[in-house]
Symmetry: C3
Subunit: 248 residues, 3 copies
């Protein structure tokens, strides 16, 4: 255990073995942190929220939360969460294991995130979003939910397993992006996207099947499904599983 002398850690917070807390970080009462986790400086964990109904912020083991991040109480994360800096996560987020959240990303809470998901910087996840497993979301993407803002109607998006949403794209309320689909950069997605297809534009239109896209590495191999050539950063056993499933 290594708590910086300037950190303000509530005696009610439950810290696992071998937890490190950085300078100027605040850990509120209603927080449970798993073993072998590291919390950077200037963070605020367990920010109180009426909307959390008393449930804690729960981080699994092996978490790495980088500096200036803010997590509300009332959310739970599987093991091996990794975040960039200045992440904001509100109450009601239910996330699986090995989630990576990019710098400045903003999870609005009341959403479901699968396993091995990665968001790049500055991703905005609206309430009631459902994000599958092994999904990639790139910078400045917004998952919306209100079909006629402002209103009390909330239609979350669904992003299927292995799907990719490229930078500066908006997924409109209630839209489903199929498994292994690719939303091209700077798109506005108003209709459901079929599995294994590429859409792009504003409004986004069908461009081609994902299998048409070839790697620009000189090999001309198919670029999708991406796990056929890219497994960097996943745990070794998952890398093997991806290779076995997708024929790398």
């Amino acid at each position: 255990m290594s708590i910086h002398p300037t950190a303000l850690v509530s005696p009610r917070a439950q810290l696992g073995a071998n937890v490190t807390i950085g300078a100027y970080t605040i850990v509120e009462d209603n927080v449970v942190i798993g073993d072998n986790s590291t919390i950077g400086s200037h963070c605020e964990l367990g920010h109180p929220s009426r909307l959390a109904d008393g449930s804690p912020l729960q981080l699994g083991s092996g978490a790495l939360v980088r500096s200036h991040s803010i997590f509300y109480e009332g959310s739970s994360f599987g093991d091996n969460l990794v975040t960039g800096h200045r992440v904001t996560v509100r109450e009601g987020t239910r996330a699986g294991k090995n989630l990576q959240i990019g710098t400045l990303s903003d999870f609005q809470g009341h959403c479901e995130i699968g396993d091995y998901v990665r968001t790049h910087s500055n991703v905005h996840i609206g309430q009631h979003s459902k994000v599958g497993n092994f999904v990639w979301i790139f910078p400045y993407v917004v998952l919306t939910n209100d079909p006629h803002p402002p209103s009390d109607v909330m239609l979350g998006c669904e992003i299927g397993d292995y799907a990719i949403v490229a930078t500066m794209s908006v997924v409109l309320p209630g839209v489903k992006v199929g498994q292994h689909a690719l939303v091209a950069a700077h798109s506005n997605v108003a209709r459901d996207v079929d599995a294994f297809t590429v859409v792009g534009g504003s409004p986004a239109k069908f461009l081609c099947p994902t299998e048409k896209i070839r790697l620009k590495d000189g090999t001309e191999r198919p670029a999708y499904p991406w796990p056929s050539h890219f497994q960097r950063g996943y745990p070794p056993e998952i890398q093997q599983q991806l290779r076995d499933m997708f024929g790398a």
Copy 2:
């Protein structure tokens, strides 16, 4: 009065009755905070600026400024300001009462904001913007001002009362968005928008009158003017006023 022992509060700052200042927050000299206000942790209020001409940062009563926010000196806010986290507000911002500023929003200053305005996360308000009353601005919207950047010509946008600008839209310099108009998501607004109309696309074009849009809650009631069905979060007397005006 409750000032966290780690907060650095200038003795020159004028704090009202029952003000709370969070941990690791800095309150500079030229700051006036109204009664019953709460400032979160890791904030910086009254950041000095030559451009403020010595005028203070003035927060009305009942302010709630969430953590990691930065306000320059030289701006004023009516009562009941509420902010998300990591808000940046520069000098010369003149805002009415009950403003809500979303997490990560960036007000460039030298702008006018009416009463009961709400910005969602990550909204960028350029200098010389004029935002009316009861306006809604959604994530990653940019109100611009320079018609041929970089230059010294500043043509601020005007957003009319009750208008809505949906996520990831840009309003180009000098454009006026009429009262009760709706700018759809991911739009690039190059021309003035008539009151009570919907525009969308890049460049944004007229789509339909707002009255054509129906609530997706099974009732098929008109979704606009939005105060006919949505008054959440406004003070009770304002809720009644909205219902009276818009026939809820």
Copy 3:
């Protein structure tokens, strides 16, 4: 030298003469800061990174780093760096002199930035980007690098000297924007942009030569090359040089 008593400055960090460090700021071991520099509050300089290969964070003289900013070790900046608040700069950034980085901007590292470059707020510079001299990049612009995300193929963008990328535009992987070119707001740039041309839209198309755009200040003078009428904020000798070169 003025180090705030709450700042945590490693004795291994090398600070020049007349350096100011703000409250609650952390300066790690592997940091070199030039003379007459000012670091704001709540910053983190020299964030350790395996990917930095032991090279330091190096700031030239006269740096002004505003509050809540984070710089990794393994990057270098010429003299007179100025940043807004909450800037993130990762390892492997090589920047020239007089760089201005806007609030919330996110430099992913492993990139090259010339002299006298200015980014406005919330600009995202992907790895392997090459940004020339006197370039302007406006809010919410993303310079991308991966032609088929996620992959290990990195094709950085190149932005030529004096070029301008306006707000909410994406420059796709490997795209070259020519000298003095202008990318209009809310564009998706998929092809190289010729020098002295304006492109816009999604996908971005040729709109006109830059010389066709006239200043909206009543004079009808050409707005581009922009240094013919705009030199604000540059050092006096550079202002003179710009005037001499571009005929102001």
